[in-house]
Amino acid sequence: MKPALDRGSLALGAYVYTVLAFVIIPLVIIIPMSFGQNDHLEFPPSGFTLKWYAEYFTSRGWRNATWLSIQVAFLTAICATLIGTAATYAMVRGRGQLASLFQILLIGPIIVPHIALAVGLYLFFQTIGLSGTVPGFVLAHTVLALPFVVFTTAAALGKVDANFEAAAMSCGATRWTAFRLITLPLILPSVVSSAFFAFIISFDEPVVSFFLSGVRQKTLPRRMFEDIEQNLTPVIPAIATLLIVLSVAILLGAYAMRSRARS
């Protein structure tokens, strides 16, 4: 008769889902704590209240921080996606001489300790008056998001046959037209998801913002860091819950978009 599921795959499955639980539980545990009535965090939470959400939405400080973060993240997404996609395109379709330099520089922002970059940037931006300004945040965050944009678009671009563009060019299209009408639509889902990724990286960035935040301009993570260190109340889980819901929504949206693009 047909063999049943063997022990090997059962064990593998069990192990994998345990690891996934390890990955997910710290994110999930946050959610109920945002509804607790006490000022400090506890689990299981006592009572049920939405007051922490209310506090988040009504407090001017949180609102300002959130608004700043949204502005910065939005502009970062645009800059990183434009610069990253242009560079990736040049690397994939270009002459390839600068490839190794490009690779090394690209991973730089991931592996250089952010604290070092933060201090360096603070010194630099302070001299030229960019510290604590929206352009300052955007520049810094664009650097941090670029590697991820490039990885994502490079993977997509690598899958688009170079001959598509050649075909378009043999049909009379200039290279730019070929890119705009053929290549871009084909990599668009990845470009969009890299833009989301850049948005989230910026929206979530604690260390560099920590130093660059100015007297008035304070990003959401900077404020959260402050509160975690100095004033940990369930507002933090409430914000975290909102962020997680946002992330999941964006992720699922991206998945849906990709599967629609595929069919």
Binding site: H40, Y122, L123, Q126, F211, E229, Q230, N231, L232
Partner: protein, 328 residues
């Protein structure tokens, strides 16, 4: 008076920041038509920023928070304050409130706080009790923030039987030998005031060195905890003016304004759990309430008064010793 339009004050955030804002910044802003911009920032970050401001010549902060040793060790970053220009401070504050580089803001103590349910009715009182893991078993907390490089050795020397008045100059060899004894029992080296509250609430420790204000806050919250002023170390926060501050006049005006109204100091002290240096304010409190604050005569006399000159002069040695010991 011709003040600048704004005044940037760096203070720790949280409770302290909120209360300062409510009782002092807003009224001052209204009264003098100056926009007060509070910057919530941890003291170390504040100094890091200040360092960068000095390096780049772009000074943003006017008033910063300084501790006693800072007034000695960081004079190169601070404006000298002319106390004669601050009549209200002269008039309402305790005598040593105005120093050449800072005006006292709040005073608390680094003191022993313990969980009242942990020792079946017995109550630890002194730093020797803190070291006594037989009688008072359970995980300890000690600070790894701010001025811990002398706070903790001071507590160790007291535990080892040194008289408070003979503490300085600190015998660091003796202190660290004593510290080696307690080290295995320290579960948390806490870094912020909020964290010390958390570890008391969550019972991650049964006993810890803590800011008096933070201890007071959790006691009021209903956590079964108590504090002992025996051997508490005086911890005064000063308001200092950063060298090259853009709004120096407004800063001076604010320093003076801080002590102008005795009435606001009482509710402020109740909110932040720390005493200000307003001698007139503490007198307005009932005696039993007064005893919750470091500046009540009963407590003030038990406080260890640190020798900032010595500490300021030996800052590097203190810190090196601490880091070397702690990261071993």
């Amino acid at each position: 008076q011709d003040l600048e339009d704004q005044l940037v004050i760096a203070t720790t955030g949280g409770l302290m920041g909120n209360a300062l804002n409510k009782y002092f910044y807003e009224p001052f802003g209204k009264a003098k038509d100056v926009e007060v911009v509070p910057v919530a920032i941890e003291v170390p970050d504040q100094w890091a920023r200040a360092e960068a401001m000095m390096r780049t010549g772009n000074v943003e902060f006017d008033i910063v928070t300084a501790t006693g040793p800072d007034l000695v060790a960081r004079t190169n970053m601070l404006e000298k304050i002319d106390c004669s220009q601050l009549p209200n401070v002269q008039k309402y504050a305790v005598p040593d409130a105005c120093t050449p580089y800072g005006v006292a803001r709040t005073t608390g103590g680094m003191l022993l706080t313990y969980n009242t349910e942990a020792f079946k009715g017995k109550a630890p009182k002194t730093w020797s009790d803190f070291w006594d893991v037989k009688q008072f078993p359970g995980p300890r907390g000690l600070p790894d923030t701010g001025d811990r490089d002398w706070w903790v050795p001071v507590a160790a020397l007291l535990a080892d039987g040194v008289k408070p008045e003979q503490l300085f100059p600190l015998d660091l060899d003796r202190a660290y030998k004593k510290l080696d004894e307690i080290r295995p029992h320290v579960a948390v080296w806490w870094k912020t005031g909020d964290q010390v509250q958390q570890i008391m609430r969550s019972r991650d420790v049964v006993m810890t060195m803590s800011y008096s204000g933070r201890s007071l806050a959790i006691i009021k919250e209903g956590v079964p905890a108590a504090m002992s002023w025996e051997g508490a170390i005086r911890d005064t926060g000063y308001m200092s003016i950063l060298k090259g501050a853009p709004d120096k006049k407004a800063a001076m005006a604010y320093l003076d304004y801080f002590y102008a109204s005795t009435d606001t100091h009482v509710p402020f002290m109740r909110d932040v759990q720390y005493a200000t240096a307003s001698k007139s304010a503490i007198e307005l409190m009932k005696p039993e309430e007064r005893d919750l604050y470091a500046t009540s005569p009963a407590n003030y006399e038990k406080l260890v008064k640190p020798d900032f000159e010595w500490i300021g002069a030996h800052r590097d040695e203190l810190r090196q010793r601490w880091t070397a010991w702690l990261t071993r």
